[in-house]
Symmetry: C2
Subunit: 253 residues, 2 copies
């Protein structure tokens, strides 16, 4: 039996190549990882919790396909969704680092995941600069998204919040290769959107209706079309650079 660290690191190395921004994501990663020891694939049904707040974890994940969300439940029962997880995203790293996971993570749709044993982070940082860099970049982008979500909840109207969220999801879906023309499959319910934006599902409904009436977006079933990217950007101060399509100093290699 090979030493466990080695296999972990080997898997991690292969993974790192996929994580550097600009490289293809999705199906590519999962095929790459299938042959790597220490990293296993998992399929999870929709509406399932994968991580429970407060519990300890020893693995983190890369999402290969499907949508998930990270959330917190407060004492009065209300829920705050802090982020959505799209294909190509790393998640649950914090669940390995803190004494207990800071939030819960659940699936929206059926998902396909790569499960990466965390093992010894010290060893990773000492021996694998590529993975270190990828993990750092992932944490940086996550913080950037959270700051935008905070700005949504703190200082934007419902109309602006919806606009901003739809643009973020659109650009992220495009980076993940999930966009066709100006539309993409957006499986979130209005209740999920409400809990992400700090609104009620009732008001999300009314606001989505206004956005449609104003011809800024169109919704057909679970398919969302951006009709006026420019107008939505202006009214919601959307500036996509925080999504990290191109970093200055984090080239792959």
């Amino acid at each position: 039996m090979p030493p466990r660290n080695t296999s972990t690191i080997a898997g991690a190395l292969a993974l790192a190549k996929s994580l550097i921004p600009g490289l293809p994501v999705g199906g590519e990663i999962s095929r790459m990882l299938e042959t790597v020891p220490g990293v296993r694939l998992a399929k999870v049904a929709k509406n399932s919790d994968i991580v429970i707040a407060g519990k300890l974890y020893d693995c983190f994940y890369v999402n290969n396909d499907g949508w998930l969300f990270r959330y917190k439940i407060l004492h009065n029962g209300s829920r705050q969704i802090v982020d959505f997880v799209l294909p190509g995203d790393v998640f649950a790293l914090q669940a390995c680092l803190f004494k207990g996971s800071l939030y819960s993570i659940a699936t929206v749709t059926p998902v396909s995941l790569s499960v990466i044993p965390f093992a010894q982070i010290d060893h990773v940082f000492e021996t694998d600069p590529k993975l270190s860099k990828a993990l750092f970049w992932s944490a940086t982008c996550e913080a950037a998204r959270l700051a935008e979500h905070l700005t949504d909840a703190g200082r934007r109207s419902a109309y602006e919040r919806l606009s901003h969220l739809f643009l973020e999801l659109f650009v992220r879906a495009r980076l993940a290769g999930m966009v066709d023309e100006m539309s993409f499959h957006m499986p979130l319910t209005q209740e999920l959107i409400a809990d992400a934006l700090g609104l009620t599902h009732v008001h999300v409904n009314r606001t989505v209706k206004s956005l449609r009436d104003d011809k800024l977006i169109a919704i057909d079933g679970k398919r969302l079309t951006i009709l006026d990217f420019e107008a939505l950007s202006l009214l919601s101060d959307f500036e996509s650079s925080y999504l990290g399509e191109s970093a200055r100093a984090m080239r792959g290699g």
Copy 2:
């Protein structure tokens, strides 16, 4: 003249030792860095912008003394403060990584900073695991704080938000060695607090009054005293582990 990278990395290495959680911060760091080539000290007056959103930067900072805040201005003129920067905190890293800084950063009080040339992040990750680890941990903690701030703005009442913020600041101040008994110097104006929590300064004023009337906190000038830590924690779902006093897998060394 020595190659620029070497001096940078040398400085960074010394810095890294100070960044690992659990080690002393504040005056310790500044003295340590004074002798390090490539890292310089800077004093900045209160109410000064240090980073402007959208501009490019080649240095990041460690705060040795004083308070700062990171913020964003929207097209309608409103401001969202995404985080406060206390002694011991790293900041402006994102300003080096993205094409332009995602937010502005300004001082609340006079501050004393260490300025670290960012130079080649690739080189850092390939040669300096300790600094890499420290940077990663810093980004992870920042994301954790932002998620809590998002929860404040999204799903907590004004009363709960104030409670949660005061507890966060108290615990962070304690980690930075700035707390005496249950009180500390808290130089924020009600307007800064309002912009951090997504409220108006008028409503912050009324809510602070309720918290005082309810004997949960006391305020004497700029000095804040936590009178009932337990009650404040319960009513605001405060659980301090997100502030990263102790990580599971990120020991120094």
